[in-house]
């Protein structure tokens, strides 16, 4: 009997030694298993132009942090999946990230439908989700805090469009848009802003695949608007602008910055698009975080989504550090401690942030997309907007406010 227990003891000791030796080389590098972070960006499909750069930004930050010793002495590992800009494929990819890779956080879901489909998996499995989708309904989901987004809501964007139209002296504002996740909320909030100033609004939803919009323009002009707001994307908006020009419309034209872009301005006759205003959520251009990001990924003017996902990864890594724990719940409970700690040191990258956290300093991160302060339900509380105008065939900055 004693013999038996002795063998068992020696066996245990042997096993322990074996396990110890196996763990030792890793110990020298960084303690414990790596912290896993997933990105779920569109690499193919409609969002395909955006996803690859987004992943690049996250990878660059993680490489930098690992070179500086990791987080909590652990390496950070990036697992990238493609959501194919489809909620069906997105859910499959998210399940793999959550169940197989056991990531602490998923970053960068782009299409609103993908985010809405993936969000329940995240909160049920206590995985943190940071997104760049804009649909209002997302933060209204019962996410228990496991979700934040850096894209301003449609409510905020609509309000800005309405107020800007009023500021241009418009009283009658017409909104034209294809059916998008934000068309209705955009119009409702423009209406609220315009009605508050005593004006009136009307809207028209059109099919974005049509080659001409004569009948639509007739309907627009019947309303006798002084301002027309375009809610569409580049191809349909350029056709709309042409037909509106043919109909000799003289009022104010306002569009999204992502639809009336350099490409559109170059592709239509100058007088068609002249004097059109563009409004877009502004990255914090000129801020230190923005400059760092530009240098890090070598892209001169990164799109808003890239600046946002850059902020996601910085915030998540710092939240893990301040919590001393890499679980999704720890990130959820601590993200606001690094994004908006009162009187915290102004930090613009994870490396400095991790140092400050190690020195027990409070941290307030100001990112490349903006100040990154979150409300209770996970929306950003403040965002700057960029107002531009086409002047003489060129896009000129009017103001950032």
């Amino acid at each position: 009997m004693t013999d038996h227990s002795a063998t068992r003891r020696s066996l245990l000791a042997g096993a322990a030694a074996l396990a110890g030796s196996a763990a030792f080389p890793r110990l020298a590098l960084a303690q414990g298993a790596p912290i896993r972070i997933g990105t779920l960006t569109p690499l193919t499909g409609a969002g395909g132009p955006y996803g690859p750069v987004m992943v690049k930004a996250v990878k660059a930050v993680i490489d930098q942090v690992n070179a500086a010793g990791g987080v909590l002495g652990r390496k950070v590992e990036l697992i990238s999946e493609d959501d194919q800009t489809s909620p069906e494929a997105g859910v499959r990819a998210a399940r793999k990230l959550i169940d197989v890779d056991k990531v602490s956080a998923i970053l960068g879901t782009w299409a609103s439908s993908v985010t809405t489909a993936v969000a329940p998996l995240c909160w049920e499995s206590k995985t943190f989700l940071a997104t760049v989708s804009g649909a209002d309904s997302i933060t209204a989901l019962p996410h228990q805090g496991y979700l934040v987004r850096t894209q301003p809501t449609t409510t905020l964007q609509g309000k800005k469009f309405g107020e800007f139209a009023i500021a241009q002296g418009a009283k009658r504002v017409f909104f034209v848009s294809p059916q998008t996740p934000f068309a209705k909320s955009q119009f409702d909030n423009i209406t609220a802003a315009v009605k508050a100033a005593g004006g009136d609004t009307a809207s028209l939803i059109y099919d974005d695949k049509k080659p001409a919009y004569r009948t639509e323009i007739d309907e627009v002009l019947r309303f006798k608007p002084d301002a027309v707001v375009f809610g569409g994307y580049t191809p349909d908006t350029s056709v709309m602008l042409k037909d509106l020009y043919r109909a000799d419309f003289k009022g104010t034209k306002i569009a999204f910055g992502y639809s009336v872009n350099q490409k559109l301005v170059e592709s239509v006759p100058a007088e068609v698009v002249e004097k059109t205003y563009m409004i877009s959520p502004s990255p914090a251009e000129g801020s230190k975080a923005y400059e760092t990001l530009v240098k890090l990924i070598g892209v001169t003017s990164p799109d808003p989504y890239t600046t946002q996902i850059y902020d996601h990864i910085n915030l998540v890594l710092m939240a893990i550090a301040i919590a001393g724990d890499a679980s999704g719940t720890a990130i959820k409970d601590n993200i606001r401690k690094v994004s908006q700690a009162e009187g915290g040191a102004r930090i613009d990258n994870a490396i400095d942030g991790l140092k400050a956290i190690a020195a027990k300093q409070a941290v307030n991160y100001d990112g490349a997309s903006g100040p990154c302060d979150f409300t209770e339900i996970g929306d950003i509380s403040d965002s700057k907007f960029r107002y531009e105008q086409v002047q003489g065939g060129k896009i000129a900055l009017v103001k950032i406010a």
Binding site: V55, S80, D82, S113, T116, S137, Q179
Partner: protein, 302 residues
């Protein structure tokens, strides 16, 4: 890992139902239905809207079956005079119409925001893991049941008549088979199965939106039925499991390719799927489990 496997197998089952639906109409009466995603969507929305209005989940699934069958009948009536490629184009258009209706009729479908929070049956009672297992069991059971019924159908006189219509419509009519009635019935049953599959998907994911029902799903199912073997229910089911497992396996396979950017890996995955389709069509056009055509009985002595 375990929950991922359970999830994938559940999805396999849902795809298998779609494959069975396609196999019935394509392998049975020879009508090419490129509108599968549309029927899938009809079922998902029917059940989601019914249960959203307070009906129990079982009623929702029943509603999906009925609405699916009715829509199937409407589509067949609208396409009575069309065959082959022309029918395929119209059904493709039908799926797009369904998607556009779901996108624009906000009062009914909540537009592009989609319908979140669809009831997941017994989820509260069973817990997360329990629910996943229960749903896997349920879906698998339904697949087995539908497979069994369709196999019976294939072996029956009705099934033989269907295949006679597939081979030569005129000849079948000449032999006294009511071709139109067969087509209507087969299309309605096929549409109902696809709709049921959609309803199962909706309550599994608890969220649907017009973006869910892109034509890509139809392509996957065609790949499944082609790989498995057109005209044989076992082949369709096998093909569906194969396709979903292959789709998921490409995620892990690409991890072994060194030195690629994430975007290149994503492209590589799509290429692998395309290559798989070409290989199947090239090496085994009759599918892995080809249709078994029973021998004609020996002529009796005069």
């Amino acid at each position: 890992m375990l929950s991922y496997l359970i999830f994938t197998l559940t999805l396999c089952g849902i795809y298998a139902l779609l494959a069975l639906s396609l196999n019935l109409i394509w392998g049975g009466v020879g009508l090419v239905n490129l509108g599968l995603a549309g029927f899938f969507a009809v079922g998902a929305y029917a059940s989601a809207i019914a249960t959203g209005a307070g009906a129990p989940v079982v009623i929702g699934w029943g509603a999906a079956l009925v609405v699916g069958a009715v829509v199937g009948l409407i589509v067949t009536f609208a396409t009575l005079r069309l065959r082959d490629d022309y029918l395929a184009i119209v059904t493709l258009g039908f799926a797009e119409v369904i998607r556009l209706v779901a996108l624009n009729e906000r009062w009914l479908t909540n537009g592009s925001d989609g319908l979140p929070g669809i009831k997941a049956p017994l989820k509260a009672e069973l817990g997360l893991q329990g629910f996943s297992l229960f749903y896997l069991g349920l879906v698998t059971l339904i697949v087995l049941l539908v497979w069994f019924l369709l196999r019976r159908l294939d072996l029956s006189a009705y099934g033989r008549a269907m295949k006679a219509i597939r081979e030569d419509q005129q000849l079948a009519a000449f032999a006294g088979k009511p071709v139109l009635r067969f087509k209507l019935q087969a299309f309605a049953v096929s549409a109902a199965i696809a709709a049921l599959s959609g309803a199962l998907y909706a309550h599994f994911q608890s969220y649907i939106s017009p973006d869910h029902f892109q034509p890509l799903i139809t392509i996957y199912i065609f790949l499944a039925v082609t790989a498995g073997g057109v005209g044989r229910p076992s082949g369709a089911v096998f093909g569906a499991y194969l396709v979903v497992i292959f789709l998921e396996a490409t995620r892990f396979a690409t991890e072994w390719v060194p030195g690629l950017q994430p975007v290149q890996i994503a492209a590589l995955r799509e290429m692998m799927i395309g290559v798989a389709l070409i290989l199947v069509l090239h090496l085994r056009p009759q599918g892995i489990m080809p249709e078994r055509i029973p021998k004609a009985p020996a002529p009796s002595a005069p």
